[in-house]
Amino acid sequence: MECVFGLVGDGFALVAADTSAVHSILVHKSNEDKVMILDSHKLLGASGEAGDRVQFTEYIQKNVHLYEFRNGIPLTTAAAANFTRGELATALRKNPYSVNILLAGYDKDIGPSLYYIDYISTLHKVDKGAFGYGSYFCLSMMDRHYHSGMSVEEAIKLVDQCIMEIRSRLVVAPPNFVIKIVDKDGAREYAWRESIKDTAEVSAA
């Protein structure tokens, strides 16, 4: 029931993901951050098997950092996406990773970009993408309301509409979402959309 979706706007790219960590019928936590800040100007939203997700994305992050230290310059978003796809492809026919990824980034002379990378190493450069059962609803909403060059406000409105659809139409809908944004000023958390807050500390009697 994990949902990750993203889109490209005017000079920025967004990735939103649900924040539930589920094991069979138990919800371990509902504030699990699945959108990793890959480097200063890249976001990596991942969904899939919990162990694989963390293992694979951290591995990619450390290799992206290593490249930057070795070469004194960061990878472009396209290069990072192709590297990620390559690692998935190499592992595919031995120990496949069950991780679906949306990689968003901002490059100085190229602008924002979004890459769709699924667990069998499909790589597509896209304007909007989504994974999981939520994708059935998100893609339809985005097909209807997305246009290129959206402002941040318009894009967040669309993201909220997608989250609304997921919450109302998906049978075991995740309650909380995190939205992260990347633009010329870098990658950062934009907002959380919480309908269930983890209980605050019990105040001392």
Binding site: E58, Y59, K62, N63, H65, L66, F69, R70, G72
Partner: protein, 249 residues
Amino acid sequence: MARYDRAITVFSPDGHLFQVEYALEAVRKGNAAVGVRGTDTIVLGVEKKSTPKLQDSRSVRKIVSLDTHIALACAGLKADARVLINRARIECQSHRLTVEDPVTVEYITRYIAGLQQKYTQSGGVRPFGLSTLIVGFDPYTGVPALYQTDPSGTFSAWKANATGRNSNSMREFLEKNYKETSGQETVKLAIRTLLEVVESGGKNIEIAVMTKEHGLRQLDEAEIDAIVAEIEAEKAAAEAAKKTPSKDT
């Protein structure tokens, strides 16, 4: 292949490892490098031997980052340095991946020194011909540290040290003039030490300053020239004061 198992680094009758000592000779021929630890700043300085006119000097970086909080300068065989630096950078990321924590300065120094030692006790290889000065801030305590390694694989922590060409004179100067400094004073001390053995001027020195907040920052030529000018002015003032003793009793 059996032919190449023979160790190159073997003991001499009087207990010396000549290959290691020859490696130290190679270090002594390398460019001068100095490191100074302040209370909140650590400075690395390296002599820039005259760059050929057609060479792009930006491609010859002698002070490198190993991680966001660790930097390294070295003296000796630069090609050997590339190999060690690459291994250290991989280890920094690998450590972050396995234990989700950045390396401490001591850990990465120990790692590099361990690598250097391995090559004094393996078949068919020669030791690395370089000594390194490794600086950084402890990621948890924020305490600055300066370490030195050499081709034998020994390492130790220092308040200030020098290696490479004329390192003895630089170390003597540091022993005489070291005191706890911070900020710009630490930078000045490092530059003054280098100026003892290097021709004065921004284009002959490369300086990098590491602080906890801003990580490693390479100073550009203009900045270095300005500080060198300050130092020369201070020296001149001190000389003048010596020559005209105060008339009051």
